[in-house]
Every structure is written in C-alpha cells, then in structure tokens.
Amino acid sequence: MSILRLESVVKTYGNFTAVDHVSFEIPKGVIFGMLGPNGAGKTSLIRIITTITRADNGKIWLDGEPLNNRHPEQIGYMPEERGLYKKMKVGEQLTYLARLKGLSAAETKQELRYWFERLDIKDWWDKKIDELSKGMQQKVQFIATVLHKPKLLILDEPFSGLDPINSNLIKDEIRELNRKGISIIFSTHRMEQVEEMCEHIVLINKGKNVLEGQVKDVKQRFKENLFKIEYTGDLPAGLDATDAANVDFDIKSKNDHTLTVQVNDGSDSNEILRYLIRQGVHIRSFNEILPSINEIFIRQVGLSNQ
C-alpha cells in the first residue's frame, strides 16, 4: 500500500493555478524526491499535504485514509524557510512543538532525551535559539520535525545552510529513520542529493506532474544509448566508417583515450564491443552512460515549458 496517494489535485489562487491536476503515489518506506524549478508548485502541494491549506479539487489519501484533521500529527514537516522562536529556550521550544503535535508530556520528555543524546546536544537545553549558530538551529529544527515519530516526513531543502559535516549527520539520521520504516518526501532542486538519496521521484513544473517513477526506471527511460569506452594505444584508422558488419553507431566524441559512442536503434552494445576488439582496439573499460537526474530535469522542464 502507498503512504500517500494524490488524485487529480487542483489548487488555484485567484487566476493562478498553482497545482494543476497532479496525481502520484508514494510507496510506503521509500525516500521520495519531489523535484521542480522555483515556483513550480511544490510548496503549494506540500501545504496541501500538511493540511495547512485545502485543495480546491481532487483526492488525497494518507496511509489509505482520506486526508483529515488528525493527520497532521502523523506528518513531520520542515519548511524551506526555517523558523523557531528566537527568544525561547531549546528545551521549552521543542517541548511545545512536540505537545502541539499531540505527544503527551511523558512521551515528549522521553523522545527529547533520546534525541538530545543522539545528536550530542545535551548542554543546549537552556540555551536560547538566538544564542545558537545557524547550523545548530538546523539541528534543533530537525529534531522538532521528527520528534513525534511521524509516518511521513516532508523535508523542504533539508541541507541548505548546513556544513558538510552536519549535512552528513542529518543525511545519516534521515537514512536511519527511513530504515525504521518512515516514508520521506524530499523537496529540492539539488539534483545530486536526489541521486544520492531518493528511490522514487516526481517532477513538477508549472503546477503539473511532468514525470514520475523509480529513479532507475526514469534513467532507463531517458537513456540515449551512450557508451563510454576507454582504451590504450592508438585507434586504427577508418573506425568512423561504421559500415562494417551489423553494427550501427556514431562516435560522439574522441579524446584522451576515451571514446563516446551512441548505439543506434537495432544494434546491440555487445556487437560494438566485439567489432572494436576485432579492429584491434585495446579496451580498458566499457560503460553505459545513463543520463543524470539533472539532465533529465533540465530537458523535461525545457520541454514542458514549450
């Protein structure tokens, strides 16, 4: 079953359609990337999922149940624009936010103890937020988001403003939470993070769902049959004339003992390998080049903007 299912969700502000019949499904227990350029409608969509606003049209199910007022307690949301009460102490603040999410006083205490020990911030309890550095505040914000053990975690640009060490720390925590079965929605336009973390993605542009699926399937779908071949020695002359045998390929680039070829329809990559070996090329490696999510993103956004 899916943790979240959207069916033809629509949200308009005046004449502007922020979310335009978006449908997708998030399987339970995955890290799900929600991608899109600025102003694509990601935040509008997240606000609908977190029940901050209501969709004008369409249906949403959380864990099999139509979205309702009890669901906010099962969702943890970290907005892109971080916010905490600056004059409040860390301990009081986290207690307050956890209690608002429906945790009892005893549970709150227990969870806080766990997280303070885990992130090694025990002596921060009585510090005010504005006494902390930005990175430290991020940690506090992260705890506030996960404290109530949500089923679904929504993180909007979770690593912005974090140094590499803290970034890794939070990354590990996210993976750990995911291992425990929490589903995670990652909203970002940092594609390398998507490649690293996400199994599933959806690409939103101009309020519409442009692309959706497992990362590896998407890459397969958009691959251009490119291969990278590294070799030693010199290439035999006349390799470009690819009228030989039953292979049909184009050489896209050739430099520094590296060859990029595109295999044309109907040909097999094995045949190319065989052909090159027969031609006397000393091959050191042979790799398929899959498009990066970044490339797919740019291409698809470009296409849907046309």
């Binding site: 901050i52 624009e81 409040m88 608002l100 999410k101």
Partner: protein, 443 residues
Amino acid sequence: MNKLWLIIEREYLTRVKKKSFILITLISPLIFVAIFTVPALVAVFAGKEQTTVAVKDDSGVFTAPEDTSARVTFVLMTDPIDVLKATYKGRGFDGVLYIPSFQDTIKKLKITYFSEGQLSLGAMKSIEDRIAGQVEDHKVKAAGYSEEVMEGFKTKVSLEQREVAFNENGELVETDKKNSAGVATAIGFIAGFIIYIVLIFYGTMIMRSVMEEKTNRIVEVIISSVKPFQLMMGKIIGVSAVGLTQMIIWIVLTIVLTSVAGIFLNVDPAAAQNAMNPMGQPPQQAEMMNQSAEIFSMITSQNWGYIIPIFLVYFLGGYFIYSSLFAAVGSAMGDDMGESQSLTIVAMAPIIISIILISPVIDNPTSPLATWMSIIPLFSPVIMPARLAFEPPLWELIVSIVMLLGSAVFFVWLSGRIYRVGILLYGKKASLKELVKWTFSNE
C-alpha cells in the same frame, strides 16, 4: 481544545516570565502611589518646618502676629531696612520682609522679601494671605466698620446637588444619593483612558507577535500542527490573561501600598474628620483633609457593583475586537515594518477618535454624540465606560452591549479569515483590497 490550551499557556508564560514585564508590573504601582503620597508627605514634613522672618513695616498697618501654629513666624523690627538686610542672618532670621507705606485705596500691594535662601511656595502663599488679611482689616476699620459688622457681610455658599427622576409610576422622585458630577467625570475619564491604553498596548503587542512569527517563518511549523484560527485565538486569550494578571497585581499592590502609606501618614479620611486638628496642623491642611474625606465618601457612594461588571464587559469586548483586528493587520504586513504603518493606522484610528471624543462626551453625557458613540461598537469600548458613572439609560446600555458582543464575534471571524491567508504570504504587505479578497477566499 487541548492544543488551544497549549498555545495560551505559551503565549502567557513567555510574556509573564519576561524581566520587563515583572519590572513594569511591580514598579508601576509604586510610582502611582508615590505620585499621590509624596506631595502629602512633603506637606506633612514641610508643615513642621518654621520660617522666621524679620518684618520692616513702613505703613504701620501690620500688627502683632500671634499665630504660632503657622509655618511662618513674623517678628516686627524697627531697624532701618539696610541694617536688617545686612544683619538678619546673625540675629537668627531666615529673611527680611519689607512692607512699604500705602494709601487706603490701594488695589495691589507689592511687598519684598530679602534673603539668601528661597521661600517655599507654601510659605509664600501663607505670607501673602496673612498680609492681605491684615490689609483688609485695616481698610475695613478705616472705612468705619467694626469687625463684627464685617463678619456679618460674609456668606458661605455651598452647592448641594440632588438627583430627580420619574419612577416607574410616573411620580417625581428625589433621591438621597449625592450626584457628584466631579467624581463621575473623574471616573469617566479614568475608565475611558484605561480601556484606551489597554487596547493600544495589548493590541500592538499582539500585532508585533504575529509579525514576529510570520517573519520568523515559525508560523508554518505551528500551523502544520494546529489551525491558524487556533493559533490566533490562543494568542489573543493568552495575552488577555497577561493583561488581567498585570491588572490584578496592580490593584492589589496599589491597595496594599496606599493603606501602608495611609497608616504612615495618618491621613485616614474618617480619622481626619473626627479629630480635626490633633497634631497641631494648620487649619488649611485640616480643611484639605476634610475635603478629601468628602471625595472619599463620594467615591464610595458610587454604584460600583454596577460600574465594575459593565466596565469589564466593555473591556473584554473591546479587547477582542481590537486584538483580533491587530492580529489581522500583523498577518497582512510585509517584512518591512516601515511600509506597514498605513495598515496599523486603519486599526488604530477608531480608538484614537474615541479618546479625542471622550471629553465632549463627558461634558455632555446625554448628547446625541454620546449616545451614538456609545452604540457604535468600534467606539463604544472607550465611550460607554466613560459614561457609566453618569448612568446612561438602560435601553442604550442593552443595545450597546448587544452590538459590542455581536461585533466582537464578527471581528474575530473576519480577522481569522484574513489571518489564515496573510501569515502564509511572504514579502510585500497586502493592500486593503486584497484583505477583502482574502476574507471571502476559500483558504
């Protein structure tokens, strides 16, 4: 409901625990009591201090001054004025008073006091009064009247007010209660001003708090847990509890401090009335005490059981109207406080108009202006309490309260609509037109 309570608790505790709150709450009554008791203290202690003055009288009118209880003692001297000026200090005087000779027809007499030091205002007044009295006696005698005849000319007039009204049988009834216009006016002003200050002070406090949450972006975290309306109401109720706490502490502290000060100064009005002059105070002071005892009895004769509950109704009604309006204004503001002034003024204008109109209303508490202003809900929270001591007609009161409570509900609803949209929009402040649009938008 539970979450609303959590919000109220936070809004309340963070404010009450602030050092500035504790300081203002504890110090204000001290200042208030000091303002009223220090002059009395000064009077008591200054009254015991004696000023001894050498008098050089060229007119020959001034006679032996025998009143030893007065704060200024006169000693008639015959030495030339220049000698006195040079030697008064060595002879134990505080200064030299020179009275020139004058005609019996004189209207304005100029006398001169020579001294190193300064006379207190009280001493100056005392000297002027007594010289004037002697000059008057002299003129009376010169005109050929005896003092007894002169006394017979004097008439003391006192104005007593009695309240008349038709009772339910249509009979004209005269009530015993003193119609103390002065006290009613004072109560009117104080009641109006208290509400005015509370509305502005706590209204802007709520507005700033909403803006802070919005610019901090924490509001998005909070409303992913609770409804915006809950957050707004939690804030309004929490801050109202702060206000009530402060007022209760002020009232208790003021009562305690004034009674302590009262014991210390022995200015208990009742005691002052019974034992007129036990400590040899000058008659003026005894008279003042007598007056204050009279005011005190007028104050206690007011119908507090009627005034206080109705005052509280207007206090709360006005508070809910304006604090929710200020919350809406705060939510509609951009990050830049400066450009948001115009919206703040829209919310503040009716309160400021009310406080400007409070004076004409109290001058004429039954005028059409007073009636209308105490019915229109944006003005009534300041105007009606100002009229309470003048006992406005019952129908006006009922209409006004119904309008007040109805519009309190309306404004809380309206502000909630604006607030829930406003807090999520970042950047520029909204225009009034947009606010109207938000009110009717579908979240």
